[in-house]
């Protein structure tokens, strides 16, 4: 009895710890999504499979139908394992220099994402600094900053590509500029709030020391704004990726995740489309996680409570 309790004790502990932590709930939700996905795949691909069976005049059972719906070549909705197999084939088994490699396509998209993110972040911070310090800029710039985001990116992306193409800019730069267009916005909004976040006492303190505007910025406003900056950066890097992919759609780009999506839809390669989509999602998630890790490190060094 005591032995059993001693063995069961830590086990219960692990179970409760998993349930209390994040891994447990996340795993549970993932399992539910996977189950629903499989059911959906069977349901959506069934009719096409039945038609085929009838055309081929083969006898089929329910078991045959299920296994067949999960292994079609061009299913309406591919099953998760089909996507994983395709991803393994195009990410691990293919040389990264090949045009069939998803690593190659990811890198093409990622490079313009990162360039656009960098430009957008710098632009966003500069705009916020201007808006916070110059009253006229707040009145004149802010409405433009906000209305810039009311235009659908799908409408403006082809125009950016065409206009820049006319002056000889092709490939990386136009896509990066579309990313910039999307991602400067959260940075500006977050930084305006962040640079204004010091409370009146903290500002008065600078005043009593006769600190100049630069010192007030560097010693007070900037460090106060960093938590706001990182929150914005997490949004910004994800939509930078969206911008880069959208930038690849209208141009008939030869490479990139967007080109991969487009090619997949031309040829009805649903598995290819979905594996590009999943790769894009994983890419976005890992970039957001990376920004989060940098944030954690930096804020810890700035004395944040653990």
């Amino acid at each position: 009895m005591t032995d059993a309790a001693a063995i069961a004790g830590p086990k219960v502990n692990i179970v409760s710890r998993v349930a209390a932590g994040r891994a447990g709930p996340v795993a549970a939700v993932s399992l539910v999504i996977l189950a629903l996905w499989y059911l959906g795949a069977i349901y959506m691909n069934a009719q096409m499979q039945i038609d085929r069976f009838e055309r081929e005049e083969t006898a089929w059972s329910a078991g045959d139908l299920v296994s067949a719906t999960l292994s079609q070549e061009r299913p309406l909705l591919p099953a998760p394992h089909q996507i994983l197999v395709e991803m393994k084939k195009t990410i691990i088994d293919t040389k990264i220099t090949s045009k069939r490699s998803l690593v190659f396509h990811s890198w093409v998209t990622l490079s313009s994402t990162l360039l656009g993110f960098a430009i957008g972040t710098v632009l966003g911070i500069f705009l916020a600094v201007g808006i916070v310090h110059v009253k006229a800029l707040e009145k004149s710039l802010m409405p433009w900053v906000i209305s810039s985001q009311t235009i659908p990116i799908l409408a403006i992306a082809p125009m950016i590509v065409v206009v820049l193409g006319a002056i000889g800019l092709k490939g990386l730069i136009p896509k990066a500029i579309i990313s910039t267009y999307l991602c400067f916005f959260p940075v500006t909004i977050g930084m305006v709030k962040g640079l204004r976040s010091p409370d009146p006492l903290q500002m008065d303190l600078m005043h009593t020391y006769n600190a100049n505007q630069w010192q007030t910025f560097w010693l007070l406003r900037w460090p106060s704004s960093l938590p706001f900056l990182f929150t914005s950066l997490k949004v910004a890097i994800a939509i930078s990726l969206v911008g880069a992919i959208v930038g690849e759609l209208p141009t008939g780009a030869q490479a990139g995740l967007g080109a991969r999506l487009l090619a997949g839809s031309y040829y009805g390669q649903t598995i290819q489309i979905w594996s590009a989509l999943v790769t894009a999602a994983l890419l976005a998630a890992s970039m957001v996680a990376l920004v989060g890790m940098i944030e954690k490190q930096l804020l810890r060094r700035m004395g944040a409570r653990p």
């Binding site: 409370d199 006492l201 903290q202 008065d204 303190l205 600078m206 005043h207 009593t208 020391y209 006769n210 600190a211 010192q215 010693l219 007070l220 460090p223 960093l226 700035m302 004395g303 944040a304 409570r305």
Partner: protein, 277 residues
């Protein structure tokens, strides 16, 4: 002219024996314009603070005691009358960094450790790093926080944080210390302890202190001069001089002198308040 800003901060020791006016307000009025009606925060204030005094402003909320302190600090602009610090305008005195200001809240910057919070004004003044650290050591010791230099503000109690902010106000050796209800948010036991420490500090550093409070015992215990104020419009209704010894302890609160002065302060506050309620 070759003196670095760091050296010019150290002023020659002032002659403490000589009576010299540090703060002088004449017919000082300050009106805030609000949407519906103007608020008369200060009305025709006449005030003199001598070098080395410990002056308390006491009064109910809305009597303008904080506004008066902020006017001395050039954080508010008077609408009429004049205010001079050491014979120059409050604005010039702020530019000269002639006062250290302690706020109601510690207002420490959470991303700086205690040492770097204390050295913030020195950094702004351009003092070299070694000298800044030397100063921080000295003033953290003075407020009994020697072992806490590398801690971040959230790791300290409220009373310790306020002591750190006092060290920050003192570290550039200003002539005047302006304190706006610095211990208002602390419990009474901590407040008593800090009051005693503050008196010792005042005795040791020979600074002029202007102190805002709404606690009668605190004002009587700390001050050489108590300025009783009343609201709507904010004005001075009594100025009480005390002459307790410089090295007094909390025990004097039981003495007849103490109770008599406290009584006079209370009477003043009541008189100023009566027609309002």
């Amino acid at each position: 002219m070759t003196a670095s800003p760091a050296q010019s901060i150290e002023k020659p020791a002032q002659d403490a024996g000589q009576r010299r006016t540090v703060v002088e307000a004449k017919k000082l009025s300050l009106t805030f314009q609000t949407a519906d009606s103007p608020v008369y925060a200060l009305s025709e204030i006449d005030l003199q603070v001598e070098h080395g005094e410990f002056v308390s402003f006491i009064g109910p909320s809305g009597c303008g005691k904080t506004t008066l302190l902020r006017a001395i600090a050039d954080l508010e602009q008077p609408t009429a009358g004049s205010i001079e610090i050491n014979g120059v305008s409050a604005h010039q005195a702020r530019l000269d960094r002639s006062y250290g200001y302690v706020f109601q809240a510690p207002a420490l910057y959470p991303w700086r450790n205690i040492e770097r919070n204390v050295t913030l004004p020195l950094e702004i003044m351009g003092m070299p790093r070694e000298e800044r650290e030397e100063r921080a050591r000295k003033y953290l010791e003075l407020v009994d926080l020697a072992g806490f230099a590398k801690k971040f503000p959230w790791q300290l109690s409220g009373g310790m944080q306020q002591r750190a902010s006092i060290a920050r106000a003192l570290c550039f050796d200003p002539e005047i210390l302006l304190m706006d209800e610095p211990f208002g948010a602390l419990d009474e036991i901590v407040r008593d302890h800090l009051n005693e420490q503050l008196l010792k500090l005042w005795d040791k550093t020979r600074k002029t202190v202007v102190f805002v409070t709404h606690s009668i015992p605190e004002a009587v215990f700390l001050s050489t001069k108590i300025v009783v104020m009343s609201p709507r419009p904010g004005r001075i209704i009594d100025v009480i001089e005390t002459n307790f010894p410089r090295d007094r302890t909390l025990d004097i609160r039981e003495t007849a002198d103490f109770l008599e002065i406290a009584h006079r302060v209370r009477e003043g506050l009541r008189a100023g308040h009566s027609y309002d309620d």
